[in-house]
Every structure is written in structure tokens, then in C-alpha cells.
């Protein structure tokens, strides 16, 4: 019996060992594109529904340029799923990701490869064709772990019909105005619940309305201090931002009482319409102003009269007005990519081909990410889109800093914000201090 056990263990160990030795060395020599065996390149992306179909339609152009190549573009694969595939030894050739926040994490763990050997290799590219902002969110510690492919910029959308009805003409530019406007635009049902919300400053309202990254920009709150430590308690911007949110909820929805307002908003958020079609609340007229990415332009119903503006900013930060949060879809070469050299061809083609970038920008209303494509005369975007092109090119615009803990940088502060906006945390400074300590613990843990 003992011998059987021994044999079984040995067999298993052998199998495991044989399979774990995969090559890591990347060859960055040029691909012979004239006489190449037919190859299918698999790329996964996060887009779904209509955006997916439109995205898939760009690849025939690549297949024409490289006749040996067939592109298998798989939709609805988010970073959670993509990282599972990589860790399961089942990597696609190229990963297209919405996870700007994951660049540091995946770079650090090696899940995404450093592209520098390819950029400098035989099929290399010139990095100066990307605007500076697009490079900030794709690098981590000198490693270029991703390339930008279309980007997102965030701004304020507002329903001009509702504005007209309330006698408002210009969008709010400061957070104080945002409160005033929201008060005027909000209407209640007879049972006291919200019929039309002026503005919903909750972090869980759709993707972006009251998130830490967007509100953080509005209040000029820094994520890290100069030494790379979390700054939630030390930078007063965070406290100002959350105090403003608290007062907003009490004043606009609670008749002065915070808890009433918070409960009403939570119920309102629970009844939100589908984010990815015209049933979204802005399109339905259920909310008058909201913060969203440039893509919202493609989802609003034709009947909606609306306009866009940069994010309002806190008093004293007027010089920051016009910028915003930017950071969008990126392309990465995963560890274990089956055809690295060919995958790089696809990746760099997507990142730099002007016609493709313009086509995608026009089709799904994202901001193109090379200097040539931004300047292209072929762009045909709705007038409301200009705001986002401007935000992208504004020198003040940025995303969260990249760290080795990835999205965890926001985990603790977001957890506190959730509690705070629901009325479950009363001590603001203590909560921010906790979030700061917890984030620093996580940063320290990642350095081991």
C-alpha cells in the first residue's frame, strides 16, 4: 500500500513539474510577415453588446494587412476573467482591458509583460505619437506594461430640457453651484421618494457618478504623498470632499436631515435603469445631471436634449477647471501569450493605426489616443463630445497613481465612503485615518 502511495505522489509531482516549466524569455526580433504560417490570434476584451460588435469589425483591416493572420476577438472578458485565464495558463495572445487601476498590480506580478523589448525591437514603434497623459496610466516603475487604445475622459452630463424648465442656462462649474442646481432640479413623488434626482453623489450610482476618483479630482485630493504613502487623512481634500457629499445629501434630499436623504438615495439607486442602453437614468430623464464617461454620448436616446461640461471643482480650485479624470482601455501582452511576436504586431497595430482609432472613436464614441488620430479630420463626433477631447488634452487631467497593489489603493477609502454615505460612520477624520493606515499596510505588504 505504501508503494502505491509513493508512486502516485511521484507521478503527480512529475506531471506538475513538466507542466510548470514554460518559457518566459521574450524574443523581440521582427516577424517575417511575407511567408508566415497561418496563425490565429486571440484577443479578449471587456466590451459587450453593440460596442463589442463594433470593436470586432476593426479586425478585417488587420487581416488584410497581414494575410496569414486571423483574429479571434472575444468580448465580455473583464480583468477578473482575464487574469484567471492568465493564471490558469490559458492566456490569450493579447488582452484588452478597462483596468487602468490594474497596471501596477499586473506589471508587478508579471501577469502583463513589459513591452519595452518589443517597442525597441525589430517591429518597434515610436512612443512620442502618444499624448503624455496616455503614457502616465500605462507605465509602472519604468515598465511600459500596456499601450493605450482609445481612452475615457469623465465629465458632467446635464439634461437641457430640465435645465430650461428650471430656468438654468449654464452648467455648474463649482461644487457649490452643483448643490444649488441639484436642489432646483430635484422633484419628489407624493410618497416622498425621488422622482427626478438633480444629481446623485453616491459612489455606487452607475460606474462613475460619485466615485472616489472623480470626486477626488473635483476636490483636488491627492492619493499619495511625496513619499508614496497614502494621503487620505493628511490631504485635507478628502475630508472636504466627504463633508460636501454629506451636506449635499442632507440639503438636497433630506430637507436638512442626512439619514433621510441617504435612505431615499439608496432606494433610488436600487431602481436605476440598465446602464448600457437608453434606459439609463439620464436617458430616461430620471436624473438631471450626472458624471459619466465620454461613451455615454453613444447611449443616450435621440429624444434627449443634453449637453456636457467638465467636472465642477471645489471653491479655490478654479484653475483646475477644464481638466478631469482620464484613463481608458489599454492593451497588454499577457504572460504565456501563445504567439508573442505576432501578438505584438496586433497590439501595436491597434494602438497606432490612425484609421482604426478614428473608426472606433466614431463608432463607439471613445477618445482616440494618438496625436494623429486626435487631429484627424475624419472624426465625426457629436458636439457634446468636444468636452471630453479637451479634458483628455488638459494638462491637469490624470488618473489614480499606479501602485503594486492595483485597485486595492482605492479599496479602503471606497469602503469607508460607502459607510459614510449610508450614514454608518460618524467620525470623518478617524475613518480617513483608518483608510490611510490600512492602505499603507497593504502597500507595505506588497513590498515584501
Amino acid at each position: 500500500m505504501r508503494r502505491t502511495l509513493g508512486v502516485a505522489v511521484a507521478v503527480f509531482a512529475l506531471v506538475a513539474a513538466a507542466c510548470s516549466s514554460g518559457g518566459d524569455s521574450s524574443s523581440a526580433s521582427a516577424v517575417d510577415t511575407t511567408s508566415h504560417a497561418p496563425t490565429t490570434l486571440k484577443i479578449t476584451g471587456e466590451w459587450t453588446g453593440e460596442e463589442c460588435t463594433k470593436w470586432q469589425s476593426i479586425f478585417p483591416a488587420f487581416e488584410q494587412a497581414y494575410p496569414w493572420a486571423t483574429v479571434d476577438a472575444v468580448c465580455n472578458v473583464n480583468d477578473d476573467k482575464a487574469i484567471k485565464q492568465i493564471n490558469a495558463g490559458n492566456s490569450p495572445d493579447v488582452v484588452m482591458s478597462f483596468g487602468v487601476d490594474n497596471v501596477g498590480l499586473f506589471c508587478d506580478s508579471g501577469a502583463w509583460q513589459d513591452l519595452n523589448p518589443f517597442i525597441q525591437g525589430g517591429d518597434g514603434i515610436d512612443m512620442s505619437q502618444f499624448p503624455e497623459a496616455a503614457l502616465t496610466y500605462t507605465t509602472y516603475n519604468d515598465e511600459q506594461c500596456a499601450l493605450p487604445f482609445m481612452t475615457d475622459a469623465f465629465g458632467l452630463y446635464y439634461n437641457t430640457d430640465l435645465f430650461d424648465a428650471a430656468g438654468l442656462t449654464e452648467p455648474p462649474t463649482t461644487t457649490d453651484e452643483l448643490v444649488d442646481y441639484a436642489k432646483q432640479l430635484t422633484t419628489l413623488n407624493t410618497d416622498g421618494s425621488i422622482e427626478v434626482a438633480g444629481f446623485v453623489p453616491m459612489s455606487n450610482y452607475y460606474c462613475c457618478a460619485g466615485t472616489s476618483v472623480n470626486m477626488g479630482y473635483m476636490f483636488g485630493a491627492n492619493w499619495l504623498d511625496d513619499s508614496g504613502q497614502a494621503a487620505f487623512a493628511t490631504d485635507p481634500g478628502w475630508a472636504a470632499m466627504l463633508q460636501w457629499q454629506h451636506d449635499f445629501i442632507a440639503e438636497v434630499y433630506g430637507n436638512g436631515d442626512f439619514q433621510t436623504g441617504s435612505d431615499k438615495l439608496t432606494a433610488f439607486v436600487a431602481g436605476a435603469g440598465n446602464e448600457w442602453n437608453a434606459q439609463q437614468d439620464l436617458g430616461k430623464g430620471r436624473v438631471a445631471m450626472t458624471i459619466d464617461g465620454e461613451w455615454r454620448n453613444a447611449f443616450v436616446p435621440e429624444s434627449l436634449n443634453y449637453d456636457t461640461a467638465p467636472l465642477p471643482v471645489a471653491p479655490g480650485l478654479e484653475n483646475q477647471y477644464g481638466g478631469g479624470t482620464v484613463g481608458g482601455t489599454i492593451l497588454a501582452l499577457p504572460k504565456g501569450s501563445p504567439h508573442e511576436a505576432e501578438a505584438w504586431l496586433l497590439l501595436q497595430w491597434m494602438a497606432t493605426d490612425t484609421a482604426t482609432l478614428v473608426q472606433v472613436a466614431n463608432n463607439i464614441n471613445n477618445v482616440p489616443t494618438t496625436n494623429d488620430s486626435i487631429a484627424s479630420a475624419d472624426l465625426s463626433l457629436p458636439p457634446q463630445f468636444t468636452t471630453f477631447m479637451d479634458v483628455f488634452q488638459n494638462p491637469n487631467s490624470h488618473w489614480r497613481p499606479n501602485t503594486a497593489i492595483g485597485l486595492e489603493l482605492a479599496t479602503y477609502i471606497d469602503a469607508f465612503i460607502q459607510k459614510w454615505q449610508a450614514g454608518e460612520a460618524m467620525d470623518l477624520q478617524a475613518g480617513l485615518q483608518d483608510a490611510q493606515d490600512q492602505t499603507n499596510d497593504a502597500l507595505a505588504q506588497a513590498q515584501i
Partner: protein, 296 residues
């Protein structure tokens, strides 16, 4: 003999013993996939107990769902089983009705509750409003009410416990009741001194498995968070559904911190073993075995 046992031997070694040893070793390493394990001593355990806020959140949530959910389930299971013990017209129909929700697959049942308890559109809150409760609970959208909502879901599917209790009650020998009748005992004393002791082993079985499963509570919480909040945040709303296994899943299979997840798994193993032993010890006082135990 070996040939007959071989499936189990291979399975035990490859699927139980070797993974247990591996996870014990990994629990002392930093193992961030797709990297390799790196020995860091007891750091995972120290970080877990002293630094990680979500670890304690998940422990509290898990204790809550066991301490509140399990007794309610047992009591409700006993009550419904008692209701079904009497022979009366239509009892089969009642049994089917009581058992119906238990037949529903977990995903379907949980999604049904996500809808039923939707704060705005769900029929439960509509009912509550119609009887004059203007501010009905926000259920899965509120950290105070999300766990009670899951307890309700558990009570709805009480059928599996109920059916075991029912079999237990039906198994109580009739002569015991007759003896009690002769002594002039009423219904309550009969229940307390005859039925309950006779069914206590079954209740005990339910309590032990309930604790073990409580530590492994996962699917319902995952499905609720996935269908009410945003996908990345298993444990939503506000980590109120971040149970131990959910947090372990987040660390192991979303963050891929295999070392940390292994450490959490071993803490879970030790705690759930300790709990089982404690309950086993305590059970001697209240569990009544008719002629010997389960494993004579």
C-alpha cells in the same frame, strides 16, 4: 482489497492529502500568481490577525450568519415539521408546499429573492408599503438588512432540515406518548419531554452540519453581490456580505494571493474543527441517543 480501495486511495492522496500539505506550506509564503511562492514565515498569519480589516469583517459576518441564522432555521424547521406530523386531510399537499422552495436551485432561489426584495420594484416592499410601512427595509442594498435578507432566504429553503426533523418526529415510538398520556401530561410537556429528546440527535446533526456549512457560506452572498452591486465587489453591499469564504475567494481567486488564501483556509480548518469538537462535547448534555451513537 487494494484494487477495490484504489479509487479512494488515489483520490485521498491527490485530492485531499497532497493539497492539504501544499496549502499548509503555501500559507507560510507570499505566492502572488502568476509568480512563484516565496517563504515569508508567519507573516500572512500576523497580517491577517493584526492588520487586515476585512479579515475581521468577514469573521464577524460569518459569526452573525451562524449565530442568528442557524438557530432560527432549526426552530422554524422544528415548527414546520411539527405542523406536518399530524395526520390530517391534505397533509401531502402541505408537505409539497413547504418543501417547494427547497427544490429550487440556489442560483434561481437567490435571484428570486434579489427580485422579491428589490427596494423599489419588489413585491415584498410593495406589500409592506401597502400595510402602512412607509420606509420598508432596503434589503440587499443596505448593510443592516442584507444579512437578515439572506436569513429569510435560508428560512424559505428550510425544507431540507424540516424533512429530517419530520422523519425524526414520525419515528418516535407511539408507546412513549401513550405512557405520557397515562401520566396525564399535556401537549407541551409531551413535546418537551418526549418528542424533543427523541429528535435531539437529528437536531444535533443539523447544528453540526449547519456550523460547518456556515463557515463555507458562499454562493448566495456571491450571487447577491453580483446581481445588485458591481461585479468586482464580492461582499457588497458595503462588505456586509463579505463572509469568510467570500473573502477567501476574493483573496485567492480574484487577487490571486495564493499564500494568503491558504493561510485563511488553514485558520478556517482549525476553527471549524475546534467548533465541531466543542459542540460534540457540549452535546452529551442534551443529545439523547437511543441505544448508542452514530458510530458505535
Amino acid at each position: 482489497m487494494l484494487l477495490f480501495l484504489s479509487p479512494w486511495i488515489v483520490g485521498f492522496v491527490l485530492l485531499t492529502l497532497a493539497p492539504m500539505l501544499a496549502s499548509l506550506y503555501w500559507s507560510f509564503t507570499k505566492y502572488q500568481l502568476p509568480g512563484d511562492p516565496k517563504w515569508i514565515g508567519t507573516l500572512n498569519y500576523r497580517f491577517m490577525f493584526t492588520k487586515d480589516p476585512f479579515f475581521w469583517v468577514s469573521v464577524r459576518n460569518t459569526i452573525w450568519i451562524i449565530v442568528v441564522g442557524l438557530p432560527l432555521r432549526v426552530v422554524f424547521g422544528v415548527i414546520t415539521a411539527l405542523l406536518l406530523t399530524r395526520k390530517r386531510r391534505g397533509v401531502n399537499l402541505y408537505r409539497t408546499a413547504y418543501f417547494l422552495p427547497t427544490m429550487a436551485p440556489i442560483v434561481a432561489a437567490t435571484l428570486a429573492f434579489v427580485f422579491l426584495l428589490n427596494p423599489e420594484h419588489g413585491p415584498i416592499n410593495a406589500l409592506l408599503r401597502s400595510v402602512g410601512i412607509d420606509d420598508p427595509p432596503l434589503w440587499f442594498f443596505s448593510p443592516q438588512w442584507s444579512k437578515p435578507a439572506l436569513v429569510l432566504l435560508g428560512l424559505w429553503g428550510v425544507g431540507d432540515a424540516m424533512i429530517i426533523f419530520l422523519a425524526g418526529f414520525l419515528d418516535v415510538p407511539q408507546h412513549l406518548y401513550e405512557a405520557a398520556d397515562i401520566e396525564g401530561a399535556g401537549r407541551w410537556p409531551k413535546f418537551l419531554h418526549v418528542s424533543l429528546p427523541m429528535v435531539s440527535p437529528v437536531i444535533f446533526f443539523e447544528v453540526v452540519t449547519g456550523i460547518i456549512f456556515g463557515f463555507q457560506y458562499f454562493a448566495q452572498a456571491y450571487i447577491v453581490a453580483f446581481n445588485t452591486g458591481r461585479e468586482a465587489n464580492v461582499g457588497d453591499p458595503q462588505n456586509s456580505l463579505l463572509f469568510y469564504s467570500v473573502y477567501l475567494y476574493r483573496q485567492g481567486f480574484q487577487n490571486f494571493k495564493m499564500g494568503y488564501a491558504s493561510a485563511m483556509a488553514w485558520v478556517l480548518l482549525l476553527v471549524s474543527m475546534a467548533c465541531t469538537v466543542l459542540v460534540l462535547r457540549g452535546s452529551k448534555r442534551w443529545v439523547h441517543y437511543q441505544g448508542g451513537g452514530f458510530l458505535k
